[in-house]
């Protein structure tokens, strides 16, 4: 075990350095490319070390107000989706689960679409107070409801049946997508366009306000997730066994669903639906040979941030100066991985485990 832990340390370092590099690279490219020298200079100014001559240039403003929040939002979203993937896989005791599949994303999308279209019709004092919180709040409610529904439907007698899970996921996702479709049908044109665009995933709306909101929920979510990693490891043996090890399984499940929904729904309310990240990232890490949830949570946060940053970079490069919807990109990359896992699961079912 001590050897294994030293091994984990190396992975954390490699991923940490990779994250810093990907952040810098991603900050550089885009409609306007910014040189490394300037990035360093702007960051120094922003942190209060020295000032440039005269007022900040347009390039500096673009970097600080648009590029930097976008890059950070992207990293945070990647981390949130990946850690949620780890949590959902541990909860459902199944490696082919991810927040998109169990309805969290589409439920959150439904809640958000509701606010896009109906938000303006809400009036009264409470609407004013809630104002900026309305979107994340409804996204959270929608995501929580959908996830809970899928979990209840697929969990029969304490055992999650993969087929029931997939079918329940399809049904709940279709229901949520139908609801979202309904709202875009009754919406006026600009609202409908924003729903469609946002359903494909977009980071172009990043600003400091929504980035800091996602930062708070993501970091809180990861810290909470770390508290549950031991219990989630025990849960791999089954609910009864976990109970024998002192885990309060019922409470654990409620808390995990809450943490997952908090991270995914708030991120989704800002960036839209980005699928398959939560599936692919933990899968890559499990190929290193361990399913220790503590390792998976930390490493998934880092790797998820890196991969989504690279995806966003690609999305901005391939059709520059316009940008490609990032959700489409992750679906192209993630769906084949999902199918591969499903085929392998079917083939190895007889042997008793997906990774047998």
């Amino acid at each position: 075990m001590s050897k294994a832990r030293a091994g984990f340390g190396v992975y954390y370092w490699v991923l940490g350095i990779g994250l810093v590099l990907s952040l810098i690279m991603s900050a550089r490219v885009g409609a306007v490319s910014i040189s490394f020298d300037h990035i360093g200079l702007f960051l120094k100014h922003a942190l209060g070390f020295g000032h440039g001559d005269g007022p900040p240039t347009i390039e500096e403003q673009l970097f600080l107000q648009i590029r930097l929040p976008r890059v950070l939002l992207c990293a945070l979203t990647g981390a949130a989706l990946s850690v949620s993937g780890v949590l959902m896989q541990a909860l459902f005791r199944n490696p082919i689960v991810e927040p998109g599949l169990v309805g969290t994303s589409s439920g959150a999308a439904f809640g958000a679409a509701f606010v896009f279209v109906m938000g303006r019709t809400l009036t009264g004092a409470w609407a004013d107070i809630l104002g900026p919180w309305l979107l994340p709040l409804f996204a959270f409610a929608g995501g929580a409801l959908a996830t809970w529904l899928v979990y209840r439907l697929s969990n029969v007698f304490g055992k999650v049946n993969v087929n029931t899970l997939l079918l329940a996921g399809i049904a709940v996702n279709a229901l949520a997508a139908g609801g979202t479709g309904f709202f875009s049908y009754i919406a006026r044109d600009p609202q409908a366009r924003s729903i469609v665009f946002w359903n494909l995933g977009t980071l172009s709306g990043a600003d400091w306000r929504n980035t800091s909101l996602v930062a708070v929920t993501t970091i809180a979510g990861i810290l909470l997730a770390l508290r549950y990693t031991k219990a989630l490891n025990a849960l791999m043996l089954g609910e009864t066994e976990a109970g024998y090890l002192g885990v309060r399984t019922r409470r654990l499940k409620t808390h995990i669903l809450f943490v997952n929904t908090l991270m995914v729904a708030v991120a989704t309310s800002v960036v839209g639906v980005i699928a398959f990240v939560g599936l692919v990232v933990p899968h890559i890490l499990r190929l290193l040979g361990s399913s220790d949830n503590r390792f998976l949570v930390i490493a998934s946060a880092l790797l998820g941030a890196i991969l989504l940053n690279l995806a966003d970079m690609l999305a901005r490069i391939i059709v520059a100066p316009s940008e490609f919807p990032i959700g489409v990109l992750t679906a192209f990359a993630g769906a084949p991985v999902f199918l591969y896992l499903l085929i392998r699961a079917n083939r190895r079912q007889q042997q008793g485990g997906f990774y047998a």
Binding site: M1, S2, A4, R93, N94, P95, K230, N233, A234, M236, L237, G238, T240, E241, G243, Y244, L245, G246, V247, R248, R286, G289, S290, S291, D292, Q351, G352, G353, F354, Y355, A356
Partner: protein
């Protein structure tokens, strides 16, 4: 001491454990036997705290199960169930370390790792430490699970007993490892662990148990020291099969042979 009074459990609307009252003392191996569906596993789950109790009471060292903290209980009571199903790759040593989970909050201490190594040595599975659990044979998995349970209750609490409950612990083991595991069980009994095991093989129960419980349709039919309780009449009543006890010429406990005498004609007929 584990005291059970008037324990009753329901499964699927039917009572599967019916008003069982019994005390389990340390220093003896208690073996539960009974036909399939007689409520053995439910009974074990119920007094372990993982099956709802419809009526009655379970007390660990005089303290009611319902008022015990789950983690505190897990520090002194380990359960080895029938093989759990895993869907993820995990190293054997990581699984054994789970036995120490009730004892540390975030990171395992050096002592926890030492206990896990010692537990693996005791089950002769040190060589499996770095292997992926999913690639093991059924028998190897069973020994890993036993090592995990052993690591969980390795050190004696300052007050009260240690408890180890085993649900068919040798079902996947060959004869050699069956006896190796039951030898470890015997040592634990000598260390004053309260030991209760569900076994299918009556002959193994004959050889290792101090006391035996016969369950049928959720009822405790008979209980007592092995030589006094295990009799052909009782076996026929509980298992619906004829049996004879053959004395062991070496002077140990008798061996059970099943079937009527005329079912197996001697010679070549």
């Amino acid at each position: 001491m584990l005291s059970i009074h008037g324990l009753r459990c329901i499964a699927g609307g039917q009572p599967v454990v019916r008003d069982i009252t019994i005390d389990f003392a340390p220093g003896q191996l208690h073996v539960i036997v009974g036909p399939n569906g007689s409520g053995k596993s439910t009974f074990l789950k119920a007094f372990s705290g993982e099956w709802p109790i419809a009526a009655g009471e379970v007390r660990y060292d005089g303290v009611a199960l319902s008022s015990l903290d789950k983690t505190a209980l897990a520090r002194r009571r380990a359960v080895m169930s029938q093989l759990p199903e895993l869907h993820f790759p995990l190293r054997v040593e990581d699984i054994v370390l789970m036995g120490r989970y009730p004892h540390f909050s975030f990171g395992a201490t050096r002592a926890d790792h030492q206990i896990c190594r010692a537990a693996m040595e005791r089950l002769s599975i040190t060589g499996l430490a770095g292997r992926d659990y999913l690639t093991l044979s059924g028998g190897e998995k069973q020994r890993v699970q036993f090592a995990r349970a052993l690591a969980q209750i390795w050190d004696a609490p300052s007050d009260g007993c240690r408890y180890l409950f085993l649900d068919e612990p040798v079902s996947s083991l060959d004869i050699y490892y069956q006896h190796e595991l039951l030898e470890v069980v015997r040592e634990l009994v000598r260390e004053q662990v309260v030991l209760i095991a569900v076994l299918h093989d009556l002959n193994l129960a004959m050889q290792y148990a101090h006391r035996v419980l016969f369950l049928r349709q959720g009822l405790l039919v008979a209980e007592g020291p092995v030589p006094e309780v295990v009799k052909p009449d009782l076996i026929r009543e509980v298992f619906q099969i004829d049996a004879r006890l053959l004395p062991d010429p070496e002077g140990r406990r008798p061996v059970i042979v099943y079937g009527q005498t005329d079912q197996f004609p001697a010679g070549r007929g």
